[in-house]
């Protein structure tokens, strides 16, 4: 059953203000809602929350829904910033609108596309979903930036993320092309890798633009 968008917002801030803040309950004022709010009624009916005087508490029954709401919001943030490249203040507002569309497995698809991120762009944790647990069990690494590899590890170049054409061109002329095998030799003081029989040194900024499927 699907709760309303307004109720999702309430669940979300409840999660942030109680579970993540390690508090038992939160004041209605903090959530900026009044007693007679319709969404509040809705949540009460579902037995997701209970109200004691002026304070709201998230019930055990509501935890899972709240957790998933937060997850959808933070996945939406990641999508905005990493893929859609919307980095200004509007990113958060848009993520707020967008998160309500991430139902019926869309969140799983986006989570997989983003390679199961663990934190939002502000560093807050993204509660893992089923897809994340499954991927963890199989030991799937998906596609990672070169910076995530350890020295001595090898992988197939998946794609280049550089949005600057000349940067991209430079990488391609070094033989950094999707499909080629890359062996990482060093990570400090700079990244040294081998493609074919040639070795290259790139700094961290460039290494972050090279995405590799770990072998």
């Amino acid at each position: 059953m699907k709760v309303s968008a307004r109720a999702e917002e309430i669940l979300e801030s409840l999660w942030i203000n109680t579970v993540e803040a390690d508090e038992n309950a939160v004041h209605l004022e903090t959530l900026a809602i009044s007693h007679d709010d319709q969404a509040l009624e809705e949540l009460l009916r579902l037995a997701f929350i209970e109200i004691h005087g002026e304070r709201v508490r998230l019930r055990k029954e509501g935890r899972s829904e709240a957790r998933m709401t937060v997850r959808r919001h933070r996945l939406a943030e990641r999508l905005m910033m990493d893929i859609l490249d919307i980095k200004d203040a509007s990113a958060n507002a848009r993520a707020c609108e967008f998160e309500h569309l991430l139902h019926h497995g869309v969140d799983t698809k986006i989570c997989t596309l983003l390679n199961h991120p663990t934190t939002c762009p502000h560093g807050k944790p993204i509660p893992p979903g089923e897809c994340c647990d499954q991927a963890r069990q199989v030991g799937e690494v998906g596609v990672v930036a070169l910076t995530e590899l350890k020295a001595g590890e090898q992988g197939e170049i998946a794609y280049l993320a550089a949005n600057d054409v000349s940067k991209m061109h430079k990488l391609m002329s070094m033989g950094v092309l999707p499909g080629n095998t890359l062996l990482l030799l060093r990570t400090y003081p700079t990244y040294i890798f081998k493609v074919g029989n040639s070795e290259f040194a790139v700094d961290e900024d460039l290494a972050r633009e090279i995405f590799v499927r770990k072998a």
Binding site: H169, P189, G196, A201, V202
Partner: protein, 649 residues
């Protein structure tokens, strides 16, 4: 002149580090002229070669990765291909990396250029167990392909034969049908005459090559709108990944061409050079290795052998004992006029100061430095040093690449200032120019200062520490002040190899030739200026103006002469201090303060002129004022610190 223009041209192209300059040197012999390509600041070497009685002009282009240029060097390389109408283009590739380098061969062939493929460094490739079926590759590419190890002259006669009997044949390699259709569409809309094939031009247009666009616009005039519209349409349709697609297609074609050509068996990996390479890149062993190289290469070889043994011989024996008495005697006998006598053999005489200084003191020091530099350069160490210092250099607004001009600065700051051109952004160039002017002592100056300070325990340490500290502090400050993007670092690491003596020799000679032509006239001018200053009394005036400043630094008045000379030649100044010290006028603190101030003090005339030429009046004057101010204030501060701490008493 008419003979010269009729000369057939051979143009060498290829990636950096494929032994292109070795091919150039083996083809042409030592008679090379290195000059800037007209209208640019990129150097191009020219030489001649004789094949069966016919004379050819050989041009060595800067390193090029693809026909679509990114850097100014690549742009110049391509302009040569576009404008020089070569008889043949020799594409030099590294046998170990054929797969990566063949796409450029493909682009050259597709442009309809007369290409010979020279697969070089085959000796090392064979050691790695790589075998290349040259005949099969030749059949597939339909151009002459030669297997070579030019450092051992293997393949030279085959190359000469191939050049002599070159016959142009047009070959085409097809891209995927959808891409091919678009290429042909754009190509068919162009009607002018071009050196490059329309097919190749179409590809460059699709990749938004500005220079090619301008050329075609000019040639096609009214018809260009149609071309432009077609290009825009196609670029939009492929908007997601056109560049990548073209590159992937080229790789696919090359894979096909190399199918059955390369055989890899288990070879002997070059254990020793790989181990040295790994050691040089690990900070724990790399820094000690760097110190060893500095000690033996710079301190022992340049400082000990060049500035010591060779200078002693040339200055002490050849000039002092033979040449000077001879010339002075001759002048005294035949030139009775005081001013002329003084001009030639006086205190600041053209011969006694200018020639003697240039030939007997500077040349050996700079010469030995250039030898050491070329050996290090050819061993492939610099890219490794660059990666080692990249993090540190990022803090001062530069990136690892800047290590090459910085190290060269220890030889000659003037030459290093010219080399800052190779840095990518204006911001990096300004920072590098400033640091060269301020904190990097040239070899001539360092030679004298090392000699001066070695007698006083601790002084050398204070000097080195001061220089290092100021280098970092000023670098970090300017990086904060000068706006601009953080530079990006990427570099190919060529395998470490033993330098070829012949190549080292040619490089050293070319650099010394440049140095002598640029610097020698300045020595003469400096001599004349000092002579005029002495005779007119202006020099004394200047010296007394500076005296109060000397007092502030706790130095004797006579030291001001050293600072004024220091502007003419960095090392003149240091030599001036040498005189003061031998006369017992400087105590250890004063000596150290004077040495630090003088090293920081404004660069020599030559460096200032080059700075002005490369960076313009505004920037160079600002650097001049800043450096002068900083030199004296650091000297003042150091004097206070040393006196207060009693460190060198």
């Amino acid at each position: 002149m008419s003979d010269l223009s009729k000369e057939k041209k051979i143009v060498l192209v290829g990636n950096p580090n494929v032994g292109k300059s070795v091919v150039f040197n083996t083809l042409t012999g030592a008679y090379t002229t290195v000059s800037n390509y007209p209208g640019t600041s990129v150097e191009v070497s020219r030489g001649h070669c004789d094949i069966s009685g016919e004379k050819y002009l050989v041009l060595d282009t800067p390193g090029m990765y693809s026909l679509l240029p990114i850097t100014e060097e690549e742009r110049v390389g391509r302009r040569i291909l576009l404008e020089e109408d070569p008889h043949v283009i020799v594409h030099v590739v590294d046998g170990r990396n054929l797969e990566r380098m063949l796409p450029l061969t493909l682009q050259l062939i597709e442009a309809g250029l007369p290409v010979i493929l020279l697969v070089n460094i085959m000796d090392e490739a064979e050691r790695l167990g790589i075998e290349i079926d040259i005949r099969l590759l030749q059949d597939k590419l339909q151009i002459p392909v030669i297997s070579a190890a030019m450092a051992r002259k293997r393949g030279l006669s085959e190359l000469r034969k191939a050049i002599e009997s070159y016959q142009f044949r047009l070959a085409t390699f097809a891209y995927a049908p959808d891409l091919e259709k678009d290429i042909q569409k754009v190509g068919s809309l162009m009607h002018g005459e071009y050196i490059l094939n329309k097919r190749s031009l179409a590809l460059l247009l699709l990749q938004r090559d500005q220079e090619i666009e301008d050329r075609i616009k000019r040639r096609e005039a009214d018809r260009y709108t149609e071309v432009e519209q077609a290009v825009n349409n196609i670029v939009f349709e492929w908007r997601v990944d056109l560049h990548l697609r073209i590159n992937l297609e080229r790789r696919r074609i090359c894979k096909g061409l190399l199918d059955g050509v390369i055989h890899q068996s288990a070879g002997v990996p070059p254990v020793l050079s790989e181990r040295i390479s790994a050691l040089s890149m690990n900070p724990w062993s790399g820094v000690p290795l760097l110190l060893l190289i500095l000690y033996f290469g710079l301190y022992e070889f340049v400082g000990g052998f060049g500035a010591g043994t060779v200078v002693d011989f040339l200055e002490g024996s050849v000039f002092e004992e033979y040449l000077n008495p001879l010339v002075i005697g001759f002048c005294d006998q035949f030139i009775p006029w005081y001013w002329l006598n003084e001009l030639i053999v006086g205190e600041y005489g053209l011969f006694t100061l200018g020639v003697r200084y240039a030939v007997a003191i500077i040349l050996p020091i700079v010469g030995t430095f250039f030898v050491a530099f070329a050996v290090i350069e050819d061993s492939g160490y610099f890219p490794r040093l660059a990666m080692l210092v990249d993090r540190l250099f990022k803090k001062i607004g530069l990136n690892g690449r800047a290590v090459i001009p910085m190290v060269l600065g220890f030889g000659c700051d003037t030459m290093a200032t010219v080399v800052t051109r190779t840095l990518e952004t204006t911001r990096e160039r300004i920072i590098a120019t400033l640091l060269l002017a301020l904190a990097i002592p040239c070899s001539a100056q360092m030679g004298v200062i090392l000699g001066l300070l070695s007698g006083v325990p601790g002084a050398l340490l204070v000097w080195v520490a001061s220089m290092f500290l100021i280098f970092l502090l000023v670098g970090m400050l300017t990086a904060k002040i000068i706006p601009g993007e953080q530079p990006m670092f990427y570099m190919e690491l060529p395998p470490m190899r033993l330098p070829q003596p012949r190549n080292v020799l040619i490089k050293t000679l070319t650099r010394m030739q440049w140095y002598f032509l640029e610097i020698f006239p300045l020595f003469m001018i400096a001599s004349v200026l000092l002579w005029a200053g002495k005779l007119s009394g202006a020099l004394n005036g200047l010296v007394s103006t500076l005296s109060p400043v000397m007092k502030l630094l706790g130095l004797p008045e006579q030291a001001s002469a050293a600072f004024i000379f220091g502007f003419f030649r960095r090392d003149f100044g240091a030599a001036g201090l040498y005189d003061l010290q031998t006369n017992g006028l400087l105590n250890p603190t004063q000596l150290t303060v004077a040495a630090v101030t003088l090293t920081l003090f404004v660069p020599c005339v030559a460096q200032f002129l080059v700075m002005q030429k490369e960076r313009g009046w505004r920037v160079s004057l600002m650097i001049f004022v800043f450096v002068t101010f900083l030199a004296f204030s650091s000297g003042w501060l150091l004097n206070r610190v040393l006196l207060a701490s009693g460190l060198l008493l």
